[in-house]
Amino acid sequence: MHIMEGFLPVEHAIGWGIASAPFVAYGTYVVKKRIRENPEQRMLLGVAAAFTFVLSALKLPSVTGSCSHPTGTGLGALLFGPIAMAPIGLVVLLFQALLLAHGGLTTLGANIFSMAIVGPFVAYGVFRLARSLKLSFAVSVFLAASLGDLMTYVTTSVQLAWAFPDPVGGFMASFAKFAGVFAFTQIPLAISEGLLTVLIFNALARFNPQELRDMKLVRAGEVQA
């Protein structure tokens, strides 16, 4: 989902930067406040960031014959709320833009918007919806993480199609092309991300049942110590 350096027209690059900035600013405030009130959650926040670091470094093959990577933003969105992922996403994307020439500074705003804003908010919304439909914890986490991942890539396709509408078919034709590159490739990877997120939640729930209960993620009695 990384739009390459320089591959968004200037006005789009600035526009997405402006759109992402308030999320990053408010997210930073929320994270700081949360850590001040619950210093013991500092390490868990590190885990959420680390999970994104690991997953976004893994370029996995897909059935479309190209490689892409999961985003890992679902875990943090469920643990700390979607807004907290905006500053974490900024750190990860900045690291990749500066050292790896993966993504870029001019496309940072757009990439934050897709990976660290849309993805986490979708994941959080899906999780709440799934829980209110009385789906099990594991199934809810799976749906949340995979749909969040997929929607990140759909967002990237929208961003590129908006910036580069097809000369004949316009926005929709262009969107279909970019979605063919990003969204289809992503389907199996989104499933992998969902499964891996359930896996890490299992590990967290096994050893930190109290913390997950405090965060109101699981209902009492749902996690056996």
Partner: protein, 111 residues
């Protein structure tokens, strides 16, 4: 049990990762005898698509540092994953020990 579920999850992820390697066939060489690359990055494909849709578009900014080679790039990606995995492993290690000590303390109290 959770253990069975975890093993199933890991297996499913491995299958999802390996299946494409078997499923996607190498395309036949073109007229010049060159074989198109498979499993290239989707980001690169999108870049090519931009040039296809709008051949006049010129990227207006270049990456400040470009990894010197593919090897260096994979070094940095491996480093990124290793850092993340280290943090997660540390946290799980701490959690396991804390849980164990809490149980032991509980047992002592009962006695």
């Amino acid at each position: 049990m959770k253990r069975t579920q975890n093993i199933m999850l890991i297996l499913a992820v491995i299958i999802l990762g390996v299946f494409p390697l078997w499923y996607v066939q190498k395309p036949a060489p073109d007229a010049n005898g060159e074989v198109a690359e498979i499993f290239a990055g989707a980001d690169d494909k999108a870049k090519n698509l931009v040039s296809e849709i709008n051949p006049d578009y010129k990227p207006w900014f270049e990456s400040i540092i470009e990894p010197a080679s593919g090897e260096i790039a994979s070094l940095l990606f491996a480093l990124q994953a290793a850092l993340g995995a280290g943090v997660i492993g540390y946290y799980l290690g701490v959690s396991v020990t804390r849980e164990k000590m809490r149980r032991e303390a509980l047992r002592k109290e009962v006695r």
